[in-house]
């Protein structure tokens, strides 16, 4: 069945607010793609066309943007996208071991999606959490730091039950009170 994608009245109001931040009509394309991806879960060509129509831009321009940036999902992904960092600091601290453990656990390779459509795995470049390696990000959202196999098990079990891990604040070590482990 063909699915048609539309923005709601609220979305269009939000898009007007986005447009007001930029002096020309091309510039809002990235935030509007983000909005679309949050709503539809991806920005497949039909969604790209919706964005192009809404902003009065050529579809080719929108496609050009989508294909340049790795975080836009130009095709449907699993409900939970596990982006495992394997760049240098993570590599040094076991990033590949974590990646391979997740691959074995879910029975797919990086770049693939499980048959039930629940999980995709990607091996990604440095996410800016190098001191908390190994780590991964879930569906462009929360960061999971200091991963171990046990921690991965807990996270994946949680996701299967619909529980997204919470944001973890990691204070600077020099601010931690040694007795309470809190800032102050």
């Amino acid at each position: 069945m063909e699915m048609t994608y539309e923005f709601s009245k609220e979305d269009l109001a939000e898009i007007e607010k986005i447009k007001a931040k930029y002096p020309d009509k091309k510039s809002p394309v990235m935030p509007v793609l983000w909005l679309a991806q949050e709503k539809f879960g991806h920005v497949e060509p039909e969604v790209q066309q919706l964005v192009a129509r809404t902003l009065d831009l050529p579809a080719a321009h929108v496609y050009g943007v989508v294909s340049f940036y790795t975080q836009y999902y130009g095709k449907k992904m699993g409900k939970y996208v596990l982006d495992v960092c394997t760049t240098t600091s993570c590599q040094l601290c076991g990033g590949y071991e974590i990646l391979h453990y997740i691959e074995d656990k879910l029975g797919i390779k990086a770049g693939e999606t499980t048959k039930d459509g629940l999980f995709s795995i990607q091996s990604v470049e440095c996410l800016g959490a190098c001191g908390y390696a190994p780590m991964m990000q879930i569906t462009n959202g929360v960061y999971c730091n200091h991963l171990t196999k046990e921690k991965v098990d807990t996270i994946i079990d949680g996701l299967r039950a619909g529980r997204m891990p919470e944001f973890e604040s990691i204070p600077m070590p020099q601010h931690l009170d040694e007795s309470t482990n809190k800032i102050g």
Binding site: K21, C126, G128, Y132
Partner: protein
């Protein structure tokens, strides 16, 4: 040079609970420097003070921020922009996010003061898209600053207007390069621009623009408060001020630490970070993000984290994102992964970069997988020579430097691999 770091009280991120909340920030002297600036300083005076303080850009190139501001042309009544660079994608770098999370208003205050100094009409804060959690924090802080009248029209009754917007990236290291960042803000693929024209002449939407790193701008209120002489007395004389060191790899306590510039690398590893994991020896240190040349463990005696000391040692300060590797690290593997990164992130506009990064990675995979030959080491160095200084932006150099200096400084690791190849008998 010895720095009394044990008694150092952090200035950028002071560790006051809930400082990210605007009320707490104000109670601790926040936005006082903005008030002082608007009430009693001229734009020229601000530029001169910041120039004299010699805040060297914390985004990687270490350029004097005030000097950069002074390149902006005279106002002509049209829009002028600051693009605040929070793309933070250089491997090993994870410090600007600490500002977003723990002291966003210090950055906002610094950016508004910079805006006043350069007659800016809008600040675009470009944050990498993966930092969604931190983008939300930053947006909240900006909303609060608007609500209190620190942003918007007629700021604190001064007649100065300034807007501030967050722009989320979407996964592209190259967008940290300043001209690519501007293309991305303009809703395009992030292809770096040919310079000249420089951003001060023709930046965002063809208008005068200054690009500064988030941490650079967070230093500005400190200079306004205490003056350039005070600022220059912190840390290394030619590269002064507080700096956020992001330390990762094989140390016991990795993380972001704020200390003066000029900290000894060995002290950072042994005293600040609690030494090497498992008591191992240091094999290599990448001082400031993966593009800066690695130093050997036996090269580190007396080397400090400032531009001069690192230049003498044969590296660079970069982003102060230090990656520490222990004696068990295989430098062939480590270098292959770095080259994979730059190959993946090359935007593809320039042949030496697009093809060069690919050849580097391919050659390193060949060596890694035991199919390398001695002449491949020379080939790697030759490729570097053909990439350096021949492209639109510095990504090609960033890709070449680690290869050049890892192969020359850790040659034994590479020779060992090559001598044990499948071709060794031939």
């Amino acid at each position: 040079m010895a720095i009394d770091w044990r008694n150092y009280k952090p200035l950028l991120i002071p560790g006051i609970p809930n400082l990210h909340k605007i009320e707490v920030f104000e109670k601790n002297g926040g936005y006082e420097q903005l008030k002082k600036t608007l009430k009693s300083l001229t734009p020229e005076a601000v530029v001169n003070e910041v120039k004299a303080a010699n805040i060297r850009g914390r985004g990687g190139a270490g350029f004097n921020a005030g000097l950069k501001w002074s390149f902006m042309p005279k106002p002509d009544g049209g829009p002028r922009y600051i693009a605040a660079n929070g793309d933070e994608s250089e491997p090993g770098t994870f410090k600007d996010r600490k500002i977003f999370e723990y002291n966003p208003h210090l950055f906002i205050e610094g950016a508004i003061i910079a805006g006043f100094a350069m007659h800016i009409t809008a600040v675009y804060v470009y944050i990498r898209g993966e930092y969604k959690s931190w983008i939300d924090m930053m947006q909240k802080a900006i909303d609060d600053a608007y609500a209190k009248g620190y942003l918007g029209k007629n700021i604190l009754g001064s007649g100065f207007d300034l807007d501030m917007y967050v722009h989320s990236g979407a996964g592209a290291y190259i967008c940290g390069e300043e001209s690519s960042l501007m293309e991305s803000l303009e809703g395009k693929r992030g292809y770096p621009r040919v310079k000249p024209p420089f951003p001060a002449q023709k930046g965002l939407w063809g208008r005068p623009t200054t690009i500064n790193n988030i941490e650079t701008l967070a230093n500005v209120p400190l200079v306004i408060k205490n003056g350039a002489d005070w600022y220059k007395s912190i840390g290394a004389p030619t590269h002064p001020g507080p700096v956020l060191y992001g330390i990762s790899g094989h140390v016991n306590r990795p993380g972001v630490y704020e200390y003066p510039t000029g900290m000894s690398i060995m002290e950072l590893i042994n005293d600040v970070c609690g030494g090497m994991r498992g008591g191992k020896k240091v094999k290599a240190v990448i001082p400031g993000g993966s593009s800066t040349p690695p130093l050997r463990g036996d090269q580190l005696e007396g080397v400090c984290m400032d531009a001069d000391s690192l230049r003498t040692a044969g590296s660079m300060m970069g982003t102060a994102g230090m990656i520490v590797m222990d004696e068990d690290t295989d430098m062939v593997d480590a270098l292959w992964r770095i080259s994979h990164f730059y190959h993946h992130e090359s935007c593809g506009q320039c042949t030496p970069c697009r093809d060069g990064t690919g050849f580097l990675e391919k050659t390193l995979i060949k060596i890694r997988d035991g199919e390398g030959e001695m002449r491949d080491l020379d080939l790697l160095l030759d490729l570097c020579t053909q990439m350096e200084g021949r492209t639109i932006c510095a990504l090609a150099d960033a890709a070449a430097w680690p290869v050049r200096y890892t192969v020359t400084r850790f040659r034994e690791d590479f020779e060992k691999r090559v001598k044990n190849t499948v071709f060794a008998l031939a």
